[in-house]
Structure formats: C-alpha cells, structure tokens
Amino acid sequence: MANRWRNTLTSDDVTPEAMFLNRRQMMAGAAALGLGLSGSPLRAAGLEPNSFEDITSYNNYYEFGTGKDDPSRNAGQLTTDPWTIKIDGMVQKPGNYALSDLVPQMTIEERIYRLRCVEAWSMVVPWNGFELADLLDLVGVKSGAKYVAFETVLRPEEMPGTRFPVLDWPYREGLRLDEARHPLTLLATGIYGKPMPNQNGAPIRLVVPWKYGFKYAKSISRITLTDKQPPTSWNMANAREYGFYSNVNPEVAHPRWSQATERRIGAGLFAKREPTLMFNGYDEVASLYQGMDLRKNF
C-alpha cells in the first residue's frame, strides 16, 4: 500500500541541507546588495523546503509555551520513548499500540508539503511519515464511523504550558473519516529524514496539508473513531475564529486578520507577502467538499 499520492518532486529535488544554508546566505547577501537574483525552479513552485533550523525553532506548540521559541527551549523534557497510542472507539481491533511495533508495519515516505498556519505565515516541510489510511486499515474501521478524533499527550510535569489554561487540555483535533483516509493525510514521524524533534510533535503527529497548521495534532497519544463530530480544542476556545474544518481558504478571513496572503517564514526581513492558495494549493481535495458552503463550514 501507500504511495497513493505522488509528489511532482522527488527527493532529488530537495536542496541538501548544507547547500541550502549556504545558498540562503548567498541570497541574503545578494538581497542586501540589492541584486535581484531569481530563485530556483523549486522556489517558483513554492516548494523549496525551509531549513531544518527554521522548522525546529519556529513552532506553535502551546503545551510548551505560547512563544514561537518556547517549544524548542522547553520540549526537550518530553519523554517520547516508549510511546503507545490508544486506539479506541468504532474500530475492530482497539488497544494500546506500541509505536515501536506499529511503525515497522508502515511504509515511511518523504512528503514535501506546504504548511500554512492560521496566523498567515507559511513554510515548506519535508516530512517523513505514513498515510493515516494505512493505520486505519490495520485497526479496522467499523461501519458507521464517520470521524477520527486525535488527542495530544497531556503531561503537566513535562509540559510547562499546560499548567495554565491557555486551552482546555488535552489538545484535541479531529477529521472527517474521508479526510482522514485521503492519501495526502499523514502521520509524520520525522523531518529531513531525522526522527521527529520534540518541538515539532515527537514522536508522531498528524499532517493535513490543505488545512491550517493547528489541525496537525502533535505527540498523539489517542486516536478514536466515532460517529459524531468530535470537539476540537481551538474550536472549543473560540468557535467564531476556528471552525472544525479549517481548510486553508484565502476567501474566508479570520475575524482578526485576512487570510488572502501569507508571509513565507525564512524569507527575511523584506520578504513579499504571497497569495494564499485555496486548499493551500492541494486542489485534489476539493471533491471532498462538493456541495458544501465553505464560508459556513470554515
């Protein structure tokens, strides 16, 4: 199984990390001199991955603090090995699954995806992971199940941010079953071929590239199949601002800011805003929402 989704780019297109960093310095130097050097074809496609440094130092993971650099400073204390995921609800084989048993049964792929945060910034991340659909097939989804709920681990002793009710912990997210089964939807276990850094949601996190980043539940400890739309953390905190679907949509503004454009992280002080694409550019998911009013189901 797996490999149902094909990137138009292969790993050969990924700029080697060292070269990438060098190139960035060159570009920064050139920009400072006012030279209009054009980017690579990858840049034109919007798919030049951010550096490992950017991806691992600029994070929203409120369990470790609300600042962008809090997770990289505080997440080191999270114990990620051993790790079990409780899979329950409407499944044929419920139970506590050890990650060390689970991962070898999956096909790990590299997927270079755009990541669009609800805060109107974006990155490109080379994830390593497997399709959620494969895990769902492994545990067997019972007929009648319509949604998948995800829960992030809650360990106040290791997660200083949870000692204060910024959100109603534990962090909860959810997808409709067809969204969860879409070949774009990943459970990611790494970045740049390295094990998932703690600040990015180690050891395993959700990746749903056509949705805003807060949908990507991190450090998943529980997956529940259900027939009812599950409560989700940001929606519980502020339903007016964060919908259940939260598909990237340039036409539906966040009440506090426009979603029409985005700032590319890592592009420097004078980076121009770029237009945000419907479904973050992943048009292949449009059929999932046929006939739905996406202004209402934002």
């Binding site: 920064a28 400072a32 951010n50 440094e53 950017d54 130092s57 600029y58 409120y62 609300t66 962008k68 650099d69 805060e119 910034w121 204060f164 009710p165 910024v166 959100l167 940001w234 905190a237 503004a253 009440p255 506090r256 800011w257 426009s258 029409a260 454009t261 700032r263 992280i265 890592g266 420097g268 002080l269 004078f270 980076a271 121009k272 805003r273």
Partner: protein
C-alpha cells in the same frame, strides 16, 4: 538612597535619555538586517516594539503615583518616557504597515475591519497630539488646556493594553496582567493616596 536616585535623575541630560532610549530600536533593526532575528524577523520586531512601547507607557503612568506616595521625584523623566513611548508605538505601527501587511488596500481594510488593529490605531491617534505638544512652548501656549489634553494618555494607554489582550490567541495571562496594572495606575489618579504616603513616611 532615594535622595541619590532623585539627584542622579536631575543630573542626566535629556538628550542622553533620548539617545539611550532609541538604541534598542536601532539594535533590533540592525539584527534584522543581519538576518539574526530567527526565522520570522518581522514578527520579532513587531512584537518587541509593541511590548516595549507598552512598558514605556506604563512607566510614564507610574511617575505621578510614585511622586504622590513616595519621596521619589521622577517628574523630569515623564516627558522623555512619553516621547520615547510614542516613538516606539510609531515604529511598531510602521513596521506592521511596511514590512508585515504591505498591501495598501489590506492595510485600510485591516484598520477598519479588524477590531484589535482598530483599537491599536485609535491608541496611536490619541498619542499623536500628546507627542506633538510635549515641549515647553506648547505648555506655555496651551496653558490650562495642556493638562486637559494630556489626560488623553489614560484612554490611549488603556487601549494599548486592550490591543495586546485582543491579539493573544487562547487564554493568556501576560496581557491580562498588563491590562490590570494599567487599570490600577489609572484608578490611582482618583484614589486618596495620602494613606499610602503617610505609611511610607513613617517607616
């Protein structure tokens, strides 16, 4: 001790305070140019300038209550603090305008449609006449009206605090603490403070 503080405050020339106060802004931008502010330099500049502006505005509100409750005489610092606060607010606003939002039509839409931007903008507009009249000539020219005009600082700082609360995602403590401090400092203008003062003097 307090006497020493009072005397040093009197001894510092104003231009030194202005230059020292401008250094963090210049430093922040130099670091930005050097690509040394991390993956999102615009956000770092915007946030820091906003936060420092709020600190200065709060510091400005502290001067009079301190004068009334303690022997500290910091009144000389009030103008430089206020003018610097406005400078920080202005650079914060220009950074948002030029480096963050960039698109003119979106800037106008944001100011009108996004309440937290509207609130911040109103605060800036209220501070503008205060910055412009922060000089001896204006005080002479306006006479009694100067004092009235400068009471605009209360709504301006209150709105700056509200602006910070409104931009936070989720339930966050820090902005609420600032707002509470601002509320207290403003309320102190109408509180009988002689009790505080006597307590201090006795000790």
């Amino acid at each position: 001790m307090i006497d020493l503080v009072n005397r040093s405050v009197r001894a510092i020339p104003n231009w030194v305070i202005y230059v020292a106060g401008a250094v963090p802004v210049i430093w922040l931008y130099v670091r930005g140019f050097q690509n040394a502010l991390g993956p999102d330099p615009v956000d770092v500049i915007e946030r820091n300038l906003g936060l420092w502006a709020l600190w200065l505005l709060i510091a400005g509100l502290c001067v009079t209550p301190l004068q009334r409750t303690t022997p500290l005489r910091l009144i000389k610092l009030r103008r430089p603090i206020g003018v610097l606060a406005f400078f920080y607010v202005l650079v914060h606003f220009l950074t948002w305008l030029v480096l963050d939002v960039q698109i003119p039509s979106q800037i106008i839409a944001d100011i009108i449609k996004r309440p937290y931007v509207t609130v911040g903008m109103v605060s800036l507009v209220l501070l503008l006449p205060l910055a412009v009249t922060s000089n001896n000539w204006s005080i002479r020219k306006l006479g009694g009206r100067w004092r009235k005009l400068h009471q605009l600082v209360y709504p301006a700082v209150a709105l700056a605090g509200v602006h910070m609360v409104m931009q936070a995602k989720g339930f966050q403590l820090e902005p609420l603490v600032y707002l509470a401090v601002i509320a207290l400092l403003i309320a102190m203008r109408w509180m009988p403070l002689s009790a505080f003062r006597q307590a201090f003097v006795k000790r």
